[in-house]
């Protein structure tokens, strides 16, 4: 019989962002057999000053599994998208063999708003 557990505190991690798809990679399969589609989302933050250019942020994004396979058929570079997902971090080694981590947006849901 399982012991009663205290309810876990809510682990909130939700991101909602609009932007344009860029640097879309080919659909690949991870070492554990999951389909993964990596791309970037370019989002503009509208500048408070009309004279200034809108600052641009670029976020690394990824989709997994069956969702990745669907996006592979429908999503193209330049598409305007509304994405819902969660932040996750990926570790990697840089050229000097230092361990670093980078933030990635793991997509849960995506609406393609236009081309």
């Amino acid at each position: 019989m399982a012991q009663d557990m205290e309810p876990l505190p809510p682990a909130l991690n939700t991101v909602l962002v609009t932007g344009r798809v860029r640097r879309r990679k080919h659909l690949t399969m991870s070492s554990k057999g999951w389909y993964v589609l990596e791309f970037e989302i370019e989002a503009r933050r509208y500048s408070e000053s009309p004279a200034e250019e809108d600052p641009v942020d670029v976020f690394s994004a990824e989709a997994w599994g069956a969702f990745a396979r669907e996006l592979d058929k429908t999503m193209n570079n330049g598409d305007a998208v509304l994405v819902e997902g969660r932040l996750t971090s990926r570790e990697y080694e840089d050229r000097n063999n230092n361990r670093r981590h980078r933030m990635v947006l793991s997509i849960v849901k995506m609406d393609i708003l236009g081309g």
Partner: protein
């Protein structure tokens, strides 16, 4: 009619501080506070067992929010952060360009209940409520209205 693509950028994330917040006071008198939180998520794996995955997120806050972060948050403090995703770029010591995603905090909620002996008397002013941080106001409130494109 040409419709402009809406600009949406919202983040809501909870976690615990992994270290003491780093605070600074700029030359123009603006407070800034940076901190990193660990956000854990439980999920059931393919083996049917529960696993936990933790990611580390950098947060930056400004002005009144930064002051309250410096005053109330410590390593281990549980928080709920509401804000926007942004990228910050800098040049590393070895000369290479680096960038990272961080959260620009608009609101930080302190989730730790105050100790019994440290409870403040009830007050009607929001600044006295432990755990409440008002959203930052832009330095020039009129700029918010100038941004509307119509």
């Amino acid at each position: 009619m040409n419709i402009r693509m809406p600009s949406i950028n919202k983040v809501i994330i909870s976690g615990n501080l992994v270290e003491e917040p780093r605070t600074d006071l700029l030359e123009n008198g603006t407070h800034v506070a940076n901190f990193r939180i660990a956000s854990s998520q439980s999920f059931r794996g393919r083996d049917g067992e529960w696993h936990e995955k933790t990611c580390f997120i950098d947060v930056v806050s400004w002005r009144r929010t930064a002051e309250l972060v410096a005053e109330y948050l410590r390593k281990g403090s549980p928080v709920l952060v509401e804000g926007e995703l942004q990228t910050s770029s800098w040049q590393a010591q070895d000369g290479t360009s680096r960038s990272r995603i961080e959260i620009l905090a608009r609101r930080v909620q302190f989730l730790e209940k105050p100790q019994q002996q440290q409870q403040k008397p009830e007050s009607s002013t929001r600044e006295d409520k432990v755990g409440y941080t008002p959203a930052d106001e832009p330095p020039d409130a009129e700029a918010e209205y100038d941004d509307i494109p119509f």
